[in-house]
Amino acid sequence: MTTIQPSRASRRLATGRARRRRSPAALLLLLAAAGAAAVVGLWWRDTPAVTGNADRLVNAGRITGLLAGYAIALVVVQMARIPALERRVGSDRVARWHAMSGRYALSLTVAHVVLIVTGNAMQTHASLTAEAVSVVTGYPDMEKAAIGTALLVVVGLISAAPVRRRIPYELWYYLHLTTYAGVYLAFWHQLSTGNDFAAGGRIARWAWYAMYGGVWLLLVWYRFVVPVRMNFRHRLRVLETVEEAPGVVSVLISGHRLHRLGAQAGQFFRWRFMSRGLWWSANPYSISAPPRPDLLRITVKASGGHSAALARLRPGTRVWAEGPYGALTAARRRRRSGKVLMIAGGAGITPLRALFETLPAASGDLTLIYRARRTEDLALWDELQAIAEERGARLRYAVNGPDGARPQITARGLRKLLPDIARHDVFLCGPPGLAEEMYAVLREAGVPDRRIHHESFEF
């Protein structure tokens, strides 16, 4: 059996990369806002006057249309898996931005359609239906745009929380891919009917082409070229599976020169196992040990059909991986040294197990609290103990009492364990309920928000 033993060598390898980096989130938001202002500037430049109510509606339609076209490009680029976004802002945060800006872009699109049709109907004194038909059939590229918009609306509807919860993740994912078709179809009418791009606005037109072309290149590069190259280089295969606890399985994955993947403790890959019934879905699982040149390990709790099927993986099965992604790494700390508390809940132990071994901290500065239902559910416990012993770290677990009572992790309890908890960096990983509860407790214990590092994946 192959095991991953904590080793000084792997720690040295991993800690060398722990450079502290600021998240570029604020700068990116500023840039996005500047772009929106430039887009509205186009309208401003090309509109000498707005006369009458019909004209007001049409112009509001133009502004929302321009902004929608811009927002859609941003929504798509957020899903291009650009390393700077995935690793420095954090995949979870980018996914939330994507959902938020997606809703916004879709609202703008709908507003654009309604305003343009209503405004034109007022100008031509036609009924709304007649005008809608004539807008779609009468202008260049508008049939395409109508189909594209319909696709985008459908994608928006299936992504709304109540629908999303009722359909399988894979179905949702593949339907979501039709977004690309929708965006493509809706693109052309922007240039051929948009006042700001047709005829006069050559520079604006080229800027628009450049924006969409750039987004397309980033998509092709980071979602296709980079993963293909990586998988051909590293040739990942299942080495073996190990049951760590009831329903928790580790998958050991071998490959070539895996230290060149650049994966850091705390990060994850999206894994696709090329076996029957599994190949068509890619799931994000954190690596549960610092990567070794010949070996990666993920540890997965059986919660859905996919994770349960992993236990039956045959050695030698090909693995397709994309990554590394995620910003819950040592670089997330405010300072390079200083005390660190980790709180893991259930399967949330996986990224923290890797960090527990490699995160730079002096003896006595590192504490891990591991929450699970029962003692036998404490997956990887032996390894954690070995690391704690070697590093001089504190290791505590909290499990339900024999009567099923949940242990109370309170602000007072934490302060008793760590009197200077307010000066700790806290890494938090667990199911959403626990994470929220712990966040509140930590804040109550005096830990500032900027020192609570958390990644939440609610797919």
Binding site: V40, P48, A49, T51, I63, N120, A198, A199, D449
Partner: protein
């Protein structure tokens, strides 16, 4: 992990967007006036001598010499994606008193339908603006852009 307020966020972003658009549109003048006087003035000094199409008009006392000059100028033909556009202007006493599109895209149902509405609108806008600073008619971007170019060339003609 900070507490999020989805409803508040939706309300705020909607309010911000709507008010932003309302303010932007409100800031625009309600009719094109800027540059109108200038173009008219230029036409007044240049019209009689230059265009060669000058015709003495019935006296009305509007022009400096007591004679109202009516000039007809034809702009250049501008090719658009859907066909040529050419504008003819009539200046009376330095003001644009008539604007007509001699050519505009025709020949298919769509162009005819759009331009039946757009061309008169552009003619009217020209009379109001007294310059080539006119707003494009929504849906007729190509015709509008061609119209503006031809219109500008006609105005330049009187000025040159």
């Amino acid at each position: 992990m900070k507490r999020r307020h989805p409803v508040r966020r939706v309300v705020l972003s909607t309010a911000a967007t709507v008010s932003g658009i309302v303010v932007l549109i409100g800031l625009k003048p309600t009719a094109s006036t800027g540059g109108g006087a200038q173009a008219g003035g230029a036409a007044a000094t240049g019209a009689g001598q230059r265009s060669g199409a000058a015709a003495p008009a019935s006296a009305s006392g509007a022009s400096p010499k007591g004679v109202t000059v009516t000039v007809t100028v034809t702009g250049k033909t501008v090719q658009t994606k859907y066909g040529p556009v050419q504008v003819r202007l009539t200046f009376t006493g330095g003001r644009i008193t008539a604007a007509t599109a001699l050519q505009h895209p025709t020949g298919n149902k769509i162009s005819d339908k759009i331009n039946a509405h757009a061309v008169p609108a552009l003619d009217q806008e020209t009379l109001t603006a007294q310059s080539a600073t006119i707003a494009a008619v929504s849906g007729a971007s190509y015709t509008s852009a061609g119209y503006k170019q031809s219109l500008q060339s006609a105005i330049d003609e009187t000025r040159a």
